[in-house]
């Protein structure tokens, strides 16, 4: 290769380098131009703002204050609505708990009355009364008394927590028992008093059509039970109403069964 051609290539390369530097410089110029344009626009806006008259500023300030007030009012409305929603939520939660408790209480009352009327056998009815008084009311020492029509005494039919013989027969004209039979309403004494088989802490009269047929006397509660709830009082009423009719029906049924057997026996005797 001749030296002329070599020189030509070298000049070509130098020119290319010069050209690419020129291109980079142009790019930098364009970026700088863009930045200057933005600065110019900012300065122009500042100039416009600075050229506003005090009235225009007042108007602008008024507009901004109006918007601020609107936003504050909106914020206050939202805050009030939030508070209302929170209150409603709390009311619903409280109502839910009430309904749940009511539901539980109704389940207890339903189960008690369902079980009491599930049989016509006197012993079964007495057993169910015992189950309800233990499991649903939480009594430890209690007795179910039935009224002896001839003597007017209340005799113990079934007991729990103490032997049957330890419960004395009661007169229906004495103390808390007399009060409950007289009013027809359950009477509650002090649930914390120590058990005394002469004086029940709860008397639930068993009355059918205004006539007493017996009584449930509770003398002591389970150790984990320290008082009576609203449900207990409801249960006392259910027991007073449903246990008495269940006992009455069972007694009538057993009497009619006995009579039927006697008549059947008599008929058999006559026909043989």
């Amino acid at each position: 290769m001749s030296s002329d051609r070599k020189d030509l290539f070298r000049h070509g390369e130098e020119f290319l380098q010069l050209f690419s530097r020129g291109a980079e410089f142009t790019k930098e110029l364009l970026i700088e131009n863009e930045r200057l344009r933005a600065n110019l626009a900012e300065l122009e806006q500042e100039q416009v703002d600075a050229s506003r008259t005090p009235e225009e500023w007042d108007k602008y300030r008024g507009e901004l204050q109006g918007r601020l007030q609107d936003l504050e009012e909106e914020c206050e409305t939202v805050r009030v609505r939030l508070q209302q929603a929170e209150e409603e939520n709390q009311q619903f939660a409280a109502r839910y708990l009430e309904v749940e408790e009511e539901n539980n209480n109704l389940a207890n009352l339903y189960v008690a009355s369902y079980q009491l009327h599930s049989t016509l056998d006197l012993d079964e009815v007495l057993k169910i009364i015992v189950e309800i008084v233990i499991n649903l009311i939480g009594a430890e020492i209690f007795a179910v008394y039935l009224l002896d029509g001839d003597s007017g005494q209340l005799d113990v039919a079934v007991s729990e927590g103490a032997d049957l013989s330890k419960f004395p027969s009661c007169s229906k004209s004495r103390g808390i028992i007399a009060k409950s039979l007289e009013t027809g309403e359950p009477v509650c004494g002090d649930p914390t008093q120590s058990p005394n088989l002469e004086e029940p802490i709860v008397c639930i009269p068993l009355i059918v059509q205004g006539r007493p047929i017996g009584l449930i006397g509770i003398f002591g509660l389970l150790q984990q039970k320290d008082g009576f709830s609203a449900l207990d009082h409801e249960l006392f009423s259910v027991m007073g109403g449903h246990a008495s009719t269940a006992l009455f029906a069972a007694r009538l049924y057993s009497q009619s069964e006995r009579k039927l057997n006697t008549i059947q026996g008599f008929i058999d005797l006559l026909t043989k």
Partner: protein
Amino acid sequence: MTRSMELSMDRKRILIVEDSPTMRQLLVFALRRLKDVDIIEANDGMDGLRKVSSDHFDLALIDINMPVMDGLKLISLIRGEDNLSSIPIVVITTEGAKEDRERALSLGANEYLTKPIQANHVLKVVKGLMKSESKA
């Protein structure tokens, strides 16, 4: 797998071992509020043992004072069987003394509730135990 099989696999089974029909009915009432649960009843400890041995249960509610076999005996037998030892057991009893509670818990009961029961409390306990059981 068919849809009905999937459903049956999702369902939980709870055993109630209680001699009092009144209490059983009350517990069934409470537990019926749980979704996808089958409730099976046994009226004494022996009946409970037969049922728990012959079928799968996710939880058992056991009374202490029962005829034929009491609840404590039943709990110790359940905990003695390898395939039954993980069933969560809730005791529901009238016995409120501390030593009765400790005895039942030491035999393997998971929870100890005293009568008279609050249905929503029983539900809460049952839900809690079944949730932790399904996580395990």
